[in-house]
Symmetry: C2
Subunit: 191 residues, 2 copies
DNA sequence: CACGCTATCTACCAAACGGTAGATAAACTA
DNA sequence: TAGTTTATCTACCGTTTGGTAGATAGCGTG
């Protein structure tokens, strides 16, 4: 892509960002186990050694990718999600969340692919996903608390449906994510 | 585990079955990419070369594992699933299916882990899951056809929820799979 | 322009990988 | 018991892997 000027020197912050972005898409496509250090580097037009100047190991790169997604994604929700109103409001907020997630397909895919891969307790991101998903569920549970009779169970159901829909949507792009969500929400947000 | 009689010679059919069973659990735990040929062999107390006498390559072993699951699982459903009755019957049949799946935890996990890993088009099981899931959806769609206003959409929703619930159940064994299913079904099977 | 800093590269390493070739030993048959 | 078959093993090969050491070159500052 770049007109190959032999060696491209970038300020560290810029290069790091470039690497993280490329790594995100590679991991989203093939999982973490499926991408070699060399592949990560080549995607930015550099060598393994060059990349390792910015991230001390392949595993550290993975962690940086995950933390970056946290910054990009969680911040856009966390402030909106403190109150605990009625079903209609809850649905509107969740719909906004779904819509926002939908446009960042590569991030959705990263999250889905990696969280499945990380079911293995030996996976470097295992602990990360354990705590993160637990927190997410607790957050939604608190959010539904004011009006839902069984907020805990409902939170599990909601997240399960969204996870599964994302998975199936990645398998088959023909699925109309939003329409499926709205249909589900019609039933779910009904006291 | 076995009192290590140096060399254990088994009739091919028996050995194949032993290997497939062990491989199923290893893949379920760590994905296909996460298990080496040596690990597959060691799990049966033999060497790589010994294993390769029964399966010509690591990839062929994977395919055999998948086909074995087909035999074990699909046959128990396919005969029951031809007719297309009312919501109550549909729910009962699906509940039976869910219950049957639930007791075979390692198979559920194999399927979930592997189907996520196989989102990558370069994965050796990619094609397998594409066709298999498409068929599964079509089957359920036909099954809901008689009474559901939107059988296609409903099939997607049903499978998405089940996939997602399985995923979350594997992450957190504290989830009450059956209770979650029944709650979902209460809303889903309502004309 | 000369110098220092450091981002990047080339070259290399030890370990692990999937797979092969040929030797060995366990079970069946005559 | 001797011979045949073949399941399994030991030993090895070529490749790929994550990572390291030291050389090189792009950039800012004097």
């Amino acid at each position: 892509m770049t007109p190959s000027p032999g060696r491209r020197r970038l300020p560290p912050a810029e290069r790091r960002e470039e690497i993280l972005k490329a790594a995100t898409e590679l991991i989203a496509a093939s999982g973490f186990k499926g991408v070699t250090l060399e592949a990560f580097a080549a995607a930015c037009g550099m060598t393994k050694a060059g990349l390792l100047h910015h991230f001390r190991s392949r595993e550290e790169l993975l962690i940086a990718v995950l933390e970056r997604r946290d910054e990009l994604d969680l911040t856009s929700v966390v402030d909106t999600l403190e109150p605990a109103p009625d079903p209609a409001t809850a649905r509107a907020v969740m719909s906004g969340f779904v819509r926002r997630n939908l446009v960042q397909r590569s991030l959705v895919q990263l999250y889905t692919v990696l969280s499945a891969e990380a079911l293995d307790p030996a996976h470097p991101a295992h602990a990360y996903f354990r705590t993160r998903l637990r927190e997410g569920r607790a957050m939604i549970e608190r959010y539904l608390l004011a009006w839902h009779p069984r907020p805990g169970q409902a939170a599990v159901e909601l997240l399960a449906f969204l996870d599964g829909l994302q998975l199936n949507w990645l398998r088959d792009a023909g699925i109309d994510f939003l329409a499926q969500w709205e249909t589900f929400a019609d039933r779910f947000f009904t006291a």
